[in-house]
Symmetry: C3
Subunit: 311 residues, 3 copies
Amino acid sequence: MKKYTEIQDIPNIQDAIKEAILLKMDPFEYKELGKNKTLVMLFFNASLRTRLSTEKAAKNLGMDVMSLNVNEAWQLEFDDGTIMDANTSEHVKEAAQVISQYADVIAVRAFPSLKDKAKDQSEYILKSFEKYATVPIINMESATAHPLQALADAITITELTEKKVPKVVLSWAPHPKALPQAVANSFATMMQEMDVEFVITHPEGYELDPEITKNVPIVYDQKEAMRNADFVYVKNWSNFKEYGQVLNTNPSWMMTQEKLGNAKFMHCLPVRRNVVVEDAVLDSEQSVVIKQANNRTFAAQVVLKNILESL
Amino acid sequence: MKKYTEIQDIPNIQDAIKEAILLKMDPFEYKELGKNKTLVMLFFNASLRTRLSTEKAAKNLGMDVMSLNVNEAWQLEFDDGTIMDANTSEHVKEAAQVISQYADVIAVRAFPSLKDKAKDQSEYILKSFEKYATVPIINMESATAHPLQALADAITITELTEKKVPKVVLSWAPHPKALPQAVANSFATMMQEMDVEFVITHPEGYELDPEITKNVPIVYDQKEAMRNADFVYVKNWSNFKEYGQVLNTNPSWMMTQEKLGNAKFMHCLPVRRNVVVEDAVLDSEQSVVIKQANNRTFAAQVVLKNILESL
Amino acid sequence: MKKYTEIQDIPNIQDAIKEAILLKMDPFEYKELGKNKTLVMLFFNASLRTRLSTEKAAKNLGMDVMSLNVNEAWQLEFDDGTIMDANTSEHVKEAAQVISQYADVIAVRAFPSLKDKAKDQSEYILKSFEKYATVPIINMESATAHPLQALADAITITELTEKKVPKVVLSWAPHPKALPQAVANSFATMMQEMDVEFVITHPEGYELDPEITKNVPIVYDQKEAMRNADFVYVKNWSNFKEYGQVLNTNPSWMMTQEKLGNAKFMHCLPVRRNVVVEDAVLDSEQSVVIKQANNRTFAAQVVLKNILESL
């Protein structure tokens, strides 16, 4: 693997999942691999799981880790040709090249604005680092994608499925604030790569980017969509067409124990209890969100391992 | 030791003190003990000594350390059954379980509000982490207690006493802002476990929690309380009865060289010069505050060592 | 080296440059030297290159690194004899002594106010740490000096010069905000120690501290100053006489490809494109700013190595 900015960077997803499961059994086996190698993690936004699990993964491999909250450095300019006489004091051209000299791998978290669709869809922050950095880039959640989360999700489904071809449902949930589509996008992309029956359910008008969902069945009736589901992945996203709007907060879309049936409940976390999902689900044995979060470490570790091996 | 959220978690305080003094003589002796073990430090509040000394202690034992300022992650919910449609975006139930998977030990700093007495006294933040985490918890100062500080204080008195049973006085001091009772509480608890003559002095009405001070003599006349003292621990705390109020800023309670006599001066730091204590005291040989701060490392190290040995 | 707060702390600059170039060829050669040694980095201000390169340098030497943003701790008092009943809650006397016990080396970044000239010139923050700390201090840019940058600059010129005595020009540039004189000061000091022909050019009235520039030729005509230059170091600084004022933003002082001729372009970064220098310069082969930034690691590493060897 030369980088991990999108799921497509994984040459063989089944192999990556198997390798992650092996790493989980012996996390420190490759502790020599990262010796004298440094991961720099750049945060434009808040993080808990991603920050801790990615750092843990790197240290499991013997790497050094340096973290930078970008707001503790300089406000970055991303446009070309700008006369930088206003708020930005450093161009990403310089920043990315400079940081590459202190790092063997750079990981970047940069959420979308949810205001300017074209700009968000352009992935200008992530792509700028890809363009100007001279070391591999890892996406720790960008404007439109969260591939480390999707890999952890795939590992979790592989570990827990009792069927050869489980039914997996991505179910939209209400939320008071505008959230990115990134997690849903990457989960939908990943499921299309897996040997699963995959269905998406959400209120009409809440369609994700059709270039991502492609031919995945979209069922507006949540109950129908979830029939005989083995895994239900619940996630809010703000409207994609009416970009970034919160047009629906209908609590009937909240996941409940009754609706869930015998399926396993998945969520990337953080999750708002009794808004996105009721307590009874999260507190039941059917919830696998904690295991999912644990797999964040091994998703990051398999990615880092493969990148280190390619250096 | 299975955790260190309160002084009572130490099975034998004299043994812990002796062990800390041995660690101080050879801080890196147990560098193999923490190999491949990770301490996650969670800060809800500001920290200087605690952050640096606890991290140093962990690294002396060969541990990896990951720090998270909670305000750089998600605002946590602590109540059960809440419909989380307002400011909090992650429940401590999830957060504590998730972080436990990236950590072998979790250390938490969470100050009181000093506004809601019942809530502060419930120690809901610390207790929530204790309840939901699946790894040992260390208290880096909670609403009502600062047991790492108290252990450092006990080490300091043990190292410096010239008597078998020294007289130790805890003396309240004025301060412009409302401060927690935590340090005073833990010091008072610790002194009752030590072979010392212990007296508390403060203005009338500034009584600490009687469940903590128990039968310790309380003398409202500072001069009388300090007669023949060997160690005087000076500390402000806001009113406990009129909870969190600053009812007294009488400068006559400030510690002076004259009042101190031949006693050694102790304080947990940070200290406001010429408000809590005059320069002449802090700049004299009788001040042991720097030595106290140094012992923070070895207090944390003996706690971490014992927890690591119990894993 | 016992400390590195100013360029004069380097006993022999040519030797230090040579040693840095050797370290760059084999960065991990002295990985045993820093074993069980800790660098504490204290930031009063924003940082990108300095934070990452200094941490990288320390880790290349096998040191542990602990970083503290001072605003996440306590507001420090620097004056003697103050009654600390206002905003400051800890005196640097205590802070510096305490941190010294958790550190083998302390590095400090503390920018000037650019409002109170006498106070800034007194270097009260850096000097207070020097005075009260009991371990060596490294200056990561203070009110008036940035000696790590100047050492990186000297390494860069040494590596890239094609002449025995190159001509080096320090050229002022416009900038919308008031910036410190620190980088210009340290560069000017360093150039006087090197075997170069050194000229400074800036608008009239923008003279740096004459105690720093001494007998260096100052030429107000930028074109004349730059004639036959081999290296042009471009940098804004706010007015020194009319202290901290931005009296000139004349864009004709911006560096252009045309003015640069065949010289190499240097800047400490971050740089405002098309304000300080036009894109064409930064994007050309003549720009050596990325190499300069890389040398920050080896400047810090040679300083740390020499300090560690003196412990």
